[in-house]
């Protein structure tokens, strides 16, 4: 019984939150890595692109709610998602046309790209704050819990409860669907293959008749979809605040580089690695060992590797360790 309790404890506090947070990071990191692989720069405006997409979703959600339309048990935001995606694509393409295209044609160095992406970051930051304000917004509606901790305890008779929020399940399912479509597209379809070819060797791809404009367009579309979906899922699970979205850029970058920058599958694993280390290393295992250890041997301290204040710092530290030992990432980067 104690063994089961300890397993449930870990599932409730590490596995479930880890999978949810990991999926959100993974979706974001795949977007960053695609931009890096195809357009060859680190996009600092990505966090704010996520915020922008989520903002549109929230506005449409409010509009739908005011008309009395809801999605039954599921959050209304899922209905609003397509509109958000479309507008985010429009914004991405607008910035690509007005800003990035010029530097791409000039073949500027990566640093110039980073700097102009900073400019876009400032602009998007302002736009989001002007339209929706800097405050915390909770736009989750519909059914909140699939399983409450109390219900689980009654059902199984265990001491430990297992809570399952519907947003966690939605996040997981959406991530699985999005990622399987994306990886099918990249690996099996002709357009996806041409995108990979372009990322691998630009000149060779041009020689084989791949249209670079089409590839760039496609990349922005995919990236905008991923950004909006990741942003909306994060907002549903926690809450929407423009500043948090900007901050989330940092663990997303960490996940991207840990997985090998330019490698979507690596970014996917990187997201989960970062999420699980953030949660796993800041969790206090005292209760867990209490269940497993014989009586009298229980630990007196919290058995916590590092305090929860350092949650973000862990992902940064992992990144720096990876950069020192394997600068190309755990999985070899630079090939989509």
């Amino acid at each position: 019984m104690d063994f089961l309790n300890s397993i449930i404890l870990l599932t409730n506090f590490i596995v479930v939150p880890g999978i949810t947070y990991g999926s959100q990071l993974a979706l974001g990191a795949i977007g960053v890595t695609l931009i890096y692989g195809v357009l060859r720069f680190a996009n600092f405006a990505y966090g704010d692109l996520m915020a922008f997409g989520t903002m549109i979703v929230i506005l449409v959600t409010w509009f739908l709610q005011s008309k009395g339309i809801t999605f039954g048990l599921l959050p209304t935001a899922l209905l609003a998602l397509p509109v958000g995606i479309l507008l985010t694509i429009a914004v991405s393409l607008f910035f690509d046309k007005t800003v990035f295209e010029y530097y791409r044609n000039k073949k500027s160095d990566p640093v110039t790209f980073i700097v102009v992406s900073l400019g876009i970051m400032f602009v998007l930051n302002a736009v989001v704050r002007i339209i929706i304000g800097p405050n915390d917004i909770n736009f989750m509606d519909g059914h909140k819990f699939i399983m409450k901790a109390r219900e689980f305890k009654q059902m199984t008779g265990l001491n430990e409860g297992l809570a399952l929020k519907s947003t966690q399940v939605i996040t997981l399912i959406t991530t699985i669907i999005t990622c399987s479509i994306l990886f099918y597209f990249l690996n099996k379809t002709k357009t996806g293959k041409s995108m990979r070819a372009y990322s691998n060797n630009e000149d060779l791809a041009l020689l084989s008749g791949i249209d670079p404009k089409k590839i760039v367009l496609l990349t922005w579309i995919i990236v905008s979809i991923l950004a909006t979906v990741a942003g909306t899922l994060y907002g549903l699970d926690k809450s929407f605040k423009p500043f948090t979205y900007f901050n989330n850029l940092l663990p997303i970058f960490a996940a991207t580089i840990v997985g090998g920058i330019g490698n979507p599958l690596g970014a996917f694993y990187g997201g989960f690695l970062i999420a699980f280390s953030e949660i796993g290393l800041t969790y206090a295992y005292k209760k867990f060992f209490k269940y497993l250890m014989p009586e009298g041997l229980e630990p007196s301290t919290l058995i916590q590797f590092i305090s929860t204040d350092y949650k973000f710092a862990i992902s940064f530290a992992i990144l720096i360790v990876v950069l020192i030992f394997r600068p190309n990432g755990i999985f070899k980067g630079k090939v989509i």
């Binding site: 680190a42 900073l118 400019g119 602009v123 002007i130 590092i306 350092y310 710092a313 950069l323």
Partner: protein
């Protein structure tokens, strides 16, 4: 130096902006803007040394500013004896332990020949040392933090004049930059940008959460000042005389003695604020000119030429026998030290240290906009950028208010859109920054005052 046209542009812009604000708003606002412009100029020069001279992209400005700010506390705040007696020993022991770990890692790295598992071994030591450190320091930390938690709860500082902290901040930053540089400088430009950004995130987390050191989110207020206090000025004979002298024409016209005294009192109060800010301005101006002088000297020296050569063609510089790695590390430390200096100046000027206010947008990317807008590789450009960007940053809210009022004049006061826009006025500064940066990068990619190529 005076003959230099950049110098003229730079300082005339500076004077004109200050005088304009002084005339149209108030001299107090103008001087506080000038002071922050001067501090920004120092920050921008620090970044410019790294980016403009050496091409090193450092997005960790925020972290170094925070370390500079921390230095003001460590130097100027009076020590808390109870805290020292309660937990000082534990902190000292853990400090020694930390130093021992760092040195053992360095020795292992140097002495043991390259082995497959060497890196993993070092990694293992570092990972193991964190819980050990926590185990050693934990009890003392909780003791320190529990002493007078509402008012102190930290170890305090050395109770020295705050001006020393500027130099201590610079030295601390150079040390941290040494470690960061050893780890990160070998990376390619974009990786370097990301990793320095993340390192600054770690630094901020430490400053924010190690309350025994910095009081963390509880902030430290009422720091010392290198200049007189307003209250002292208002009570001092010479200052009142001075105010009387400057406003003699105004005072002469008033015949009623009571009215005269009340007017004089009012004048003394307003001018004491201005006087304090003026003192700060002079102090900061001395710093800016000193750093500018040495920076220009360095830029035009053989060393400066070598740095530009390394920046423009690393391989060629290497082939000429220049130690690129060493020079990069040195200039990274130098630039970070200047940034730290500016960080300490900023906290001194504010009179309070608030770790939670350090955000990358304001303290890293804004400084970068200053450098890029002003002109990379040109010290005057950096100063100009510091001025112009800070001016826009401060003045864009009133400007946006004006524009919104003009465009929504026909709308009702309670109109939803108008109210919403008026509430979001502060965020127009981000918009201005972003657009400014994009426009400059497109049409003047080298900045407003581009680097001067010196041909011998």
């Amino acid at each position: 130096m005076i003959k230099n046209s950049d110098f003229k542009i730079c300082f005339s812009v500076m004077t004109v902006l200050t005088i304009l604000v002084g005339l149209f708003q108030s001299w107090g606002i103008a001087l506080s803007m000038l002071n922050l412009c001067l501090i920004s100029a120092v920050m921008a020069m620090g970044v410019n040394i790294q980016w403009g001279f050496a091409g090193l992209i450092n997005f960790g400005v925020m972290g170094f500013l925070a370390i500079g700010g921390l230095a003001t506390i460590l130097v100027s705040v009076p020590p808390v004896p109870e805290a020292w007696s309660a937990g000082g020993l534990g902190i000292l022991i853990s400090g020694i332990f930390l130093v021992a770990v760092v040195f053992s890692v360095l020795i292992i790295n140097k002495k043991i020949p390259n082995h497959k598992y060497k890196n993993y071994f070092i990694f293992f030591i570092i990972i193991l040392s964190i819980p050990l450190l926590k185990f050693i320091a934990g009890p003392s930390i909780s003791k320190i933090e529990s002493i007078n938690a509402a008012t102190s709860g930290f170890l305090g500082g050395a109770n020295l004049p705050i001006i020393f902290s500027w130099f201590v901040g610079a030295i601390l930053c150079a040390l941290v930059a040494f470690v960061v540089g050893k780890v990160c400088l070998g990376l390619r430009s974009d990786y370097l940008a990301i990793s320095t950004l993340l390192v600054s995130g770690i630094i901020i987390t430490i400053v924010k959460h190690e309350e025994w050191l910095s009081r963390g989110v509880k902030n430290v207020i009422g720091l010392k000042r290198p200049v007189p206090y307003e209250v002292d000025l208002q009570n001092s004979e010479w200052f009142i005389k001075l105010v009387e002298f400057f406003n003699s024409s105004k005072l002469l016209n008033i015949l009623d003695p009571d009215e005269k005294i009340s007017l004089l009192n009012q004048l003394v109060i307003t001018s004491s604020g201005v006087f304090v800010k003026l003192c700060f301005s002079l102090l900061f101006l001395v710093v800016v000119i000193t750093i500018l002088y040495f920076s220009e000297k360095a830029l035009n020296s053989p060393w400066g030429r070598m740095m530009r050569a390394i920046r423009d063609n690393e391989e060629a510089a290497k082939a000429m026998g220049k130690n690129v790695v060493k020079q990069h590390l040195f200039i990274f430390m130098l630039g970070s030290a200047i940034i730290g200096f500016a960080g300490a100046m900023l906290v001194t000027y504010d009179g309070l240290f608030t770790p939670s206010s350090y955000q990358p947008l304001r303290y890293t990317f804004l400084i970068w906009v200053m450098v890029l807008l002003g002109g990379t590789g040109n010290n005057y450009g950096a100063i100009l950028g510091g001025f112009v960007v800070w001016f826009i940053w401060i003045q864009s809210a009133p400007f946006a208010l004006l524009v919104i009022n003009i465009f929504t004049n026909h709308l009702d006061e309670t109109n939803y859109i108008k109210e919403h826009l008026l509430n979001s006025v502060p965020y127009f500064r981000y918009l201005m920054m972003g657009l400014g940066l994009l426009l400059v990068m497109r049409y003047r990619p080298k900045g407003l005052l581009p680097e001067k190529i010196i041909k011998n």
